[in-house]
Subunit: 231 residues, 2 copies
DNA sequence: CGTCGCGTTGAATCGCGTCAACTTCGGTGG
DNA sequence: CCACCGAAGTTGACGCGATTCAACGCGACG
């Protein structure tokens, strides 16, 4: 058993850096990537302000990223699922810009920034993919912004669920039924709503027959109507 | 007079791509950059969905970027000032992802994506700067998200003014006194507030002696207290 | 001089947050 | 294995901040 892992066998490869790299190129990428020790629930992977040495790729599990406001309150800015890359917003000044914490047992790959930079000089495909991933994050972030502004609590939650559903689908999981690894409070924080509102809305959507909610398990019964609410 | 411009003489160079490039490297960058025809107020530079051929750098003036929701309503996601680069969120799939419209007479540089990609293979500094600029946008966007969520109308507006003020300062302009090239409606749209609320808040901040507002002209009398409100 | 876009101000309404009480879940130790 | 305890989630009553609707002022421009 080695501490190396192999992008070639990784089910998340199509979402992650090796996307559109040739087998030989992927092999090169492989040489700089290490497996990170597994995280347990509530373990903190990244502390804001630390020097940026690695990007992380999620292999399994999930995490949340947040900043702290003046009074020490969390501001959740992202949830990370398998295939996601973490750390891009720190490239600007070589420091991580947020805290990142595991929501459940989580496996990660560790990608040294410096090696990545050197390697991307050789591989135009990798360079493009780096830009593509960042561009995607940027777009997602700006879309989210538009989705929070100008939208009611119901629209926000519906949109959150629809987005989550499609992210699970991209990862080869069910888009109809999934587990919310974050708490209601996390969801509320992320959407700028109170816990109580989240709870009430979930009950309400269930009463309307759109969802079936059982603790952390959500089943979307009527994707169409839910998507319509998210508009 | 040539259609070429020169990054060497551009006052925005420190904010833009040539940042930290050597004179020779900047010269190379120069060869691929063209001046774009000036835009008049309300001219639309970019239509969402068009193929991405250029990044644009703002030389003077200002613009807003927005998406359209289902009912054709604008969702303003960004204001662009001199030195800003426009178009990054489209790299993911080779299409512009939003509309971009001039708020006043505006001068731009036009940077062909393809040449930029080729050139960045040669110049590690350019590659780094590209990532830095995107990372900065990403960070700004996530910060903004945190600033809208969980904040009152007053906090949002105060934060908007403080951010704008520091952006003007970075550009060598006064941080105390500046002109809002966007309408109140634009500001409200951007912050997720109604026009009326923006108007009321500006009056209120003026009555408290923090600001002096005269149509589009804003003077910040008490930067400290304003920053405190933005918390 | 009239029109149109933009901005301001007032009054009524409502969505969501806050506070509080209670229930359920999940982990821990006896 | 069950009892216990704290964390997480639910539900109801109430209040406030921001939206909405409406009227009006003002400057730019034909």
């Amino acid at each position: 058993m080695t501490s190396h892992i192999h992008c070639q066998n990784c089910s998340m490869a199509t979402l992650c850096l090796p996307y559109q790299l040739s087998p030989e190129q992927t092999e090169k990428l492989d040489t700089i990537i290490q497996r990170h020790r597994p995280l347990q629930k509530r373990d903190v992977l990244i502390h804001s302000g630390e020097p940026l040495k690695f990007l992380y790729a999620v292999r399994s599990g999930s995490l949340k990223s947040y900043t702290l406001d003046g009074q020490g309150g969390e501001q959740i800015i992202d949830f990370h699922l398998p295939g996601d890359l973490i750390g891009f917003d720190g490239l600007i000044d070589g420091q991580y810009r947020s805290y990142t914490q595991a929501l459940e047992t989580t496996m990660l790959c560790e990608i040294p920034i410096q090696s990545l930079d050197q390697l991307s000089a050789e591989l135009p495909g990798l360079r493009k993919q780096l830009l593509r991933v960042m561009s995607g994050e940027l777009h997602a972030s700006k879309t989210l912004l538009g989705n929070l502004n100008h939208h009611t609590a119901q629209q926000r939650l519906a949109n959150f669920l629809v987005t989550l559903s499609s992210r699970f689908q991209q990862r080869g999981l069910s888009s109809r039924e999934f587990r919310l690894s974050m708490t209601r409070a996390d969801i509320g924080n992320y959407l700028g709503l109170s816990v109580e509102t989240i709870s009430r809305l979930l009950t309400q959507l269930q009463q309307q027959g759109l969802l079936t909610v059982q603790n952390k398990l959500v089943a979307i019964n009527e994707p169409e109507r839910l998507r319509a609410l998210a508009a």
